[in-house]
Symmetry: C2
Subunit: 266 residues, 2 copies
């Protein structure tokens, strides 16, 4: 492993380490400035409906890249030498909606009909917010962002349906206004928040008991601000129960060659 | 007067009616799509500091046009034939900070050292919000928007200082997020809101008792959203007490040839 910090390493270097088995953990904070993606891999017969689900629910399921053709394991749309079978530090394999294995290489389960989706994640917009001087509480408190199931229905596509999962970051109102402006520039990493303030009005019973991730401190004068979250498609996948589905393990993302700034529409 | 509705009349037609004395009332809703401006006229010796005050406090005091030179009464920057001495339906004349007269023509008080400022007003962004399908409560309830003094200090320039006055429109959080996106495109008509939610945190004691304008209904599930307001410079002027100052009368604005859409930065 080189002497460079993981934060400074180019995405291709990181992927080479992952491919060789030298890196099989969390990718948080590595290759700063580059897009990391959530991974969903499905058989072609399920992938068409999943693509439609993402298209109909772009805030929780923003696609930043996908296979050119079924069976392609080289993902040219997100990087020069990305082999999706080996370049993610850890994979979860689901059969009929249940996790059956967690592995660091999927070459032996690869099929000619598999389609890969790379979905944008909040790492990209958090970087833009921090760069603007805003405090991100889950970063400051060094925990996973709190995530909640809501009553906001997704639009259904074939077997894929469910309600939206949101992530929450508490902010002062004036910082929330600035965050809305910044995140509006990044529609492919969840875009502007969906809601702020009263948790109950979107079906969240107890803000201190997230359904996923960790609770964070909400200070006096702050309001919870809610973004659509990439856990939404995972929940839809678990409900749909495809015969085979492969995802990244939590926090172990694909590091792409796309720069976060390239996702900005303005 | 023509048979066209006031809403459809071109700004030049409206100004001709005003100049001839046939129109001396509120300009709300006329020449739809065109920018209406707040007017401030000051002697050159005070105008330099007022310009600096506007520059330092652009959210409450956004300049959309001003005289090319002191003494110029034709305002070429905002329209083809705008004579600021006759083209506003009603003027207030202040001497030493006190209203001394309300008139429909200022040709006889005009001086060679007078400088005119045209400041953006909320009519322009309200039009953009309504066009997007959002409800503006003061429009629906046919009253003046509620306005409040806050504890948000303006930056001081010479004799001009004070706190920011805000206007308030109640919205559901998801509409407030959309309003922030839309208003961000219009920095010269107050731009994005300054605050939402808790009124007390910006020094507003009772949301049902506005300092200017009328109270509006805040429904269950709505939050008050606060924008910087053009009354801010009026308060600063009253405190500064210049020997002469001329403004429009409330609601009786200058109708310019600029289109609201031209104020959009994106």
């Amino acid at each position: 492993m080189s002497n460079k910090s993981a934060q400074e390493m180019a995405p291709a270097e990181v992927r080479a380490l992952i491919r060789s088995g030298e890196w099989n953990v969390n990718t948080s904070g590595i290759s700063s400035g580059y897009v990391q993606g959530n991974i969903v891999i499905l058989p072609k017969s399920w992938a068409d409906d999943f693509l439609k689900f993402c298209q109909m629910n772009p805030k929780p399921c923003p696609i930043v890249g996908m296979s050119d053709n079924p069976g392609d394991f080289m993902l040219s749309s997100v990087g020069d030498d990305v082999d999706i079978r080996t370049d993610v530090p850890s994979y979860k394999i689901f059969r009929d909606g249940k996790v059956v294995d967690e592995v660091t290489d999927i070459r032996d389960v690869w099929q000619d009909d598999l389609v890969t989706f790379v979905l944008g994640c909040s790492f990209s917009f958090e970087e833009a917010l921090v760069a603007d001087g805003l405090e991100i509480r889950n970063v400051t408190e060094k925990v996973n962002v709190p995530m909640y199931r809501t009553n906001i229905e997704c639009r259904t596509a074939g077997p894929f349906s469910g309600t939206t999962v949101v992530s929450m970051r508490p902010m002062k109102p004036k910082d929330a206004i600035r965050a809305i402006q910044i995140c509006t520039r990044f529609p492919s990493v969840h875009g502007a928040p969906l809601h702020f303030g009263d948790p109950e009005s979107i079906g969240i019973k107890d803000i201190n008991q997230p359904d996923f991730g960790d609770a964070v401190t909400i200070k006096e004068g702050e309001v919870p601000v809610f973004w659509a979250c990439g856990v939404t498609p995972q929940v839809a996948l678990e409900q749909a129960k495809p015969p085979l589905c492969i995802t990244h393990s939590p926090g172990c993302m694909l590091v792409t060659d796309l720069r976060n700034s390239q996702l900005a529409v303005l």
